[in-house]
Symmetry: C2
Subunit: 214 residues, 2 copies
Amino acid sequence: MSDSSPGVADLLGVLAYAELTAFLRLAEDAACHAPTLADRAALGELAAAEYAHFRLLRERLASLGVDPEEAMEPFVGPLDGWHGQTAPADWLEALVKAYVGTGIAFDFYREAAAHLDDETRRLVEEVLADEGRSQFAVERVGAAIKEDPRQAGRLALWARRMVGEALSQAQQVAAARPELAALLVSGEDIARMFTRLTEAHNRRMDALGLTPGP
Amino acid sequence: MSDSSPGVADLLGVLAYAELTAFLRLAEDAACHAPTLADRAALGELAAAEYAHFRLLRERLASLGVDPEEAMEPFVGPLDGWHGQTAPADWLEALVKAYVGTGIAFDFYREAAAHLDDETRRLVEEVLADEGRSQFAVERVGAAIKEDPRQAGRLALWARRMVGEALSQAQQVAAARPELAALLVSGEDIARMFTRLTEAHNRRMDALGLTPGP
């Protein structure tokens, strides 16, 4: 598939806006909810990494001759909608969002990138690589649940709500951008892809100490 | 003056927290107030640069054997207080804050750093260097005032209020941290320092097209 494949600008555009807005929302959560300076700096670190990824994607769009803002524009509504529906009420919700919500969104983008040209795919894999940055979220949530096991139930519900909202927004995006949706499903067993996404999600829930709901 | 000078940890601590919190607040302003994607990305770029500076300062504190969180802790109250009193109500207020408010705060830190050992002073100058990043704020505010000259009055008042709040918080910090205050005034004509700070502030106001008030 060549660089001029119609879905490429869409994928880089949605990913660029996802990184830009993740950066801003994580920073906001760090400012509003972090209980200690160390926590604030740790979530800030995650936020700043997203910004660096946004820059790489914007440069790639520009190098393909695509206006980065035009490429991002169609996805502002759905992604802002998702963040609006999943604004964390406290620090633990913010951590679960940073780890589970970002995790499942990035899995989707990774699946879509699997069918692209090598250079684009390498870039997408680079910006989606976590490199252990979100490990602190796993540790903090694990410690909080160990201290107060009653937290697990509400956080598991919270994670499920985030996934539900993500699927709902993804459906809207797929309907509006058929070429992007085609990237996700091209020559692929859809059921197997959903199995992979679900397994990855369950691994993250396990890592947090949140048993997947029935 | 040696690294173990008592004001050094205070200066690096206040500056580290100033950068961390500027990063988070600028990101929040970008998320809440930026009217276009390009504006959001531009203020985001400024925010991400502050985070990189925070990391340098935190590393320097650690290399001096100082716990970064302990060094920042005394300044959380005053700096959060300042940001609380100067939360921008719209995009133009956010830009004036990013340029004028950050500008005067950084001038203060630069004055304090002038009396430190070479290595610390170079680091402080590095993290305070603007490198033209805030130029977009000057352009945006200038264009807005050209389009609607009535904006100038309220933005000039807004800038004056930010400076007033900064002086009020600085007095509290100086009273609580005499060694830090001593850095600012050591062997120096205070009147001349205030003249320099005022002149730099007036240059920024001129750059924005905001005539200093009477």
